[in-house]
């Protein structure tokens, strides 16, 4: 397999997704199949080929830096999962 269960566990930790042992096994198998398939790209000689990061050709798109008043403040606070007054509550970053 291209990717081991240990590697799946490690990338899941980096991606902040808790996986059950069954999920780890399943993802290792399906992701390995996908990564194996990707090897088809090694057939292509890409020496000196520029990567395509975007297709519009647009560069440096500017707009005026104008202050626009937003009336969404209260509604955005309503969307927060945990609030005290108007402040967002999150678990402590440090133990």
């Amino acid at each position: 397999m291209s990717i081991s269960i240990d590697e799946v566990r490690k990338i899941a930790q980096l991606a902040r997704i808790e996986l059950t042992p069954e999920e780890q096994t399943r993802h290792a198998a399906t992701i390995s199949a996908v990564l194996d398939y990707m090897k088809i790209l090694n057939e292509v000689d890409t020496t000196g080929v520029e990567p395509t990061f975007q297709v519009t050709g647009l560069t440096n798109v500017y707009r005026e830096d104008v202050v626009v008043e937003s009336k969404l403040g209260k509604k955005l606070i309503e969307q927060m999962p945990q609030v005290e007054g108007e402040e967002l509550v999150v678990p402590g970053v440090f133990d």
């Binding site: 990717i3 590697e7 799946v8 990338i11 899941a12 930790q13 980096l14 991606a15 902040r16 997704i17 808790e18 996986l19 999920e23 399943r26 993802h27 399906t30 992701i31 199949a33 996908v34 990564l35 398939y37 990707m38 088809i40 790209l41 057939e43 292509v44 890409t46 080929v49 520029e50 990567p51 395509t52 990061f53 975007q54 297709v55 519009t56 647009l58 798109v61 707009r63 969404l72 509604k75 955005l76 309503e78 969307q79 927060m80 999962p81 945990q82 967002l88 999150v90 678990p91 402590g92 970053v93 133990d95």
Partner: protein
């Protein structure tokens, strides 16, 4: 409605249906919901019926059919009727525009002000955006009536609509089959006349493939033609938003409304929006002499359904009969498109979806003690398996030591795929291919083999990687009664041309 008005209305609808040649295609039960935009707008303008009646007709269809089809996650029954009343006032004052009073549906991965927008993922189960995506705002500003939010593969991840955390969408033509994806609910809602048109997203086929499987028209516009502000992002270098309609003419009407640059999306193209409706009306009679490319790689795909191939070949012959020049061409890097696509997408996905963390909005899991637990558990419960898989692939491919081998390599091959199209459009005006190698397949049939499902995107992902426009139009049905679409691809900004050619292939304009 008094019975006299009802009779008059029914007579007018039946006239519309007869004139448009739709009678064999749609069920003729005299319901307003079966009308196209063109027909409905005419009826509203002539005051044959009101937007409230039109909207009620769609709502009745939703009530009747959604429990079987599962096209909608949220139905806006109350607000839609309010909007319809306002639209009727606009029309009464002579302020009606092409989409005034027309009920439309929006994919749930597109934000709608004060209406729940889940992206079909439980992590946003309770999310109600306070703003409209630009495309939605443009339609609502014209007086369009938002009738509901449609089911999709979660955050657009999938081609069967089975990756929704709100259940799969069933194909209206056969409830045991998938509707396609990711915009499966938007396609099924139009195909089953639960709305007059809908809005979907196409990252790598998510408008065109379900349009093909459900027998409607779907357009992926040129990358940057339509604003993506307010769209839940999947792969930013590929994402587009486009209409899903009953006819090509309707497609042109919606595109005229939603296309154009947007200060809130810096990737939008500044070029003025053409008069698509007249462009299509004018060009469709002038297809004679157009050079139509038939790329051989699209006709030798493994597992291609023979009926799909036969229907596509019939359409090629039709274009030849219309005086088009049919040219055999080659897009030699086609076979690498899936590998490129399924590297680029997970990489960009894994970074875009980092925002779904249970902190500022959405559903937070509070079982754990630490910040890490909160992230990991919120994401574990809020994403379906396929979303997790793509985040994992992307995280892996972008991690130190793998970037050059995967993401950079894929983006280099993407350049070669783009060049294939640049070269071929020197020789031909547009390309014709099937949209999907197969018609709608059984629900669950490909669920355990993600790679098999990925490979089904072979016809639709190349145009996405190149950023060019492509339309899928209904071209026929298999013996089993499942719709088959054909795809017309054109050079950048050639929406008018692909719509014009498409309109000659479909049995409805």
């Amino acid at each position: 409605m008094t019975s006299l008005i009802k009779q008059r209305t029914n007579r007018n609808i039946s006239n519309y249906i007869r004139k448009s040649g739709l009678s064999g295609y749609l069920d003729t039960t005299m319901k307003l919901n079966i009308l196209t935009i063109t027909q409905a707008a005419e009826g509203l303008r002539k005051k044959e019926f009101t937007s409230v009646e039109l909207t009620e007709s769609c709502l009745r269809q939703i009530k009747k059919r959604n429990k079987d089809i599962n096209a909608f996650i949220t139905v806006c029954d109350v607000s839609a009727l309010d909007e319809a009343r306002k639209a009727d006032e606009m029309i009464a004052k002579g302020e009606g525009k092409p989409l005034t009073g027309i009920p439309f549906a929006v994919k749930d991965a597109i934000c709608t002000a004060n209406i729940r927008s889940t992206g079909s993922a439980k992590i946003l189960d309770n999310y109600t955006p306070p703003f409209d995506a630009t495309v939605v705002k443009k339609i609502r500003d014209e007086g369009g009536v938002l009738i509901g939010k449609t089911n999709c593969d979660a955050f657009g991840h999938g081609a069967s609509n089975e990756n929704s955390m709100y259940g799969p969408v069933k194909n209206p033509h056969d409830l045991t089959k998938v509707a396609g994806g990711s915009s499966g609910g938007s396609a099924a809602a139009v195909a089953d006349n639960m709305c007059i048109f809908s809005i979907g997203e196409d990252t790598g086929g998510s408008i065109r493939q379900p349009a093909s499987l459900c027998g409607i028209v779907g357009l992926r516009p040129t990358y940057g033609r339509n604003s993506r502000y307010g769209i839940m992002p999947m792969a930013s270098s590929l994402d587009t938003v486009g209409p899903m309609t009953k006819t090509v003419e309707d497609m042109a009407i919606v595109m005229e409304c939603i296309a154009g640059s947007d200060p809130l999306d810096a990737t939008t193209i500044m070029d003025a929006v053409p008069d698509y409706v007249n462009e299509v009306k004018g060009q469709r009679s002038k297809v004679k002499g157009l050079r139509i490319g038939v790329p051989k790689e699209y006709f030798t795909v493994d597992g291609m359904d023979p009926e799909v191939k036969a229907i596509t070949n019939e359409k090629i012959k039709r274009l030849k009969d219309l005086g088009c020049e049919i040219v055999d061409v080659s897009l030699p890097h086609t076979k690498y498109a899936i590998a490129v696509y399924y590297i680029v997408v997970p990489c960009e996905d894994s970074s875009n979806l980092a925002r779904m963390d249970g902190i500022r909005y959405g559903v937070r899991n509070t079982e754990g003690r630490t910040l890490y637990d909160m992230y990991a558990k919120s994401r574990a419960q809020g994403f379906p398996e396929e979303v997790k898989r793509r985040i994992l692939i992307g995280t892996y491919a972008l991690s130190a030591g793998y970037y050059d081998a995967y993401y950079k390599k894929a983006q280099q091959v993407r350049t070669l795929i783009r060049q294939d199209f640049d070269d071929v459009f020197q020789k031909v005006d547009v390309l014709i291919t099937p949209t999907s190698p197969f018609p709608a397949f059984g629900i669950g049939e490909k669920a355990n083999d993600p790679l098999a499902l990925y490979l089904g995107d072979i016809m639709v992902s190349p145009a996405a990687l190149a950023g060019i426009p492509a339309i899928s139009v209904p071209a026929g049905k298999t013996k089993a009664g499942l719709p088959v679409g054909v795809q017309i691809m054109g050079p950048r900004m050639a929406e008018g041309l692909v719509m014009s050619v498409g309109s000659r292939l479909s049995f409805v304009f």
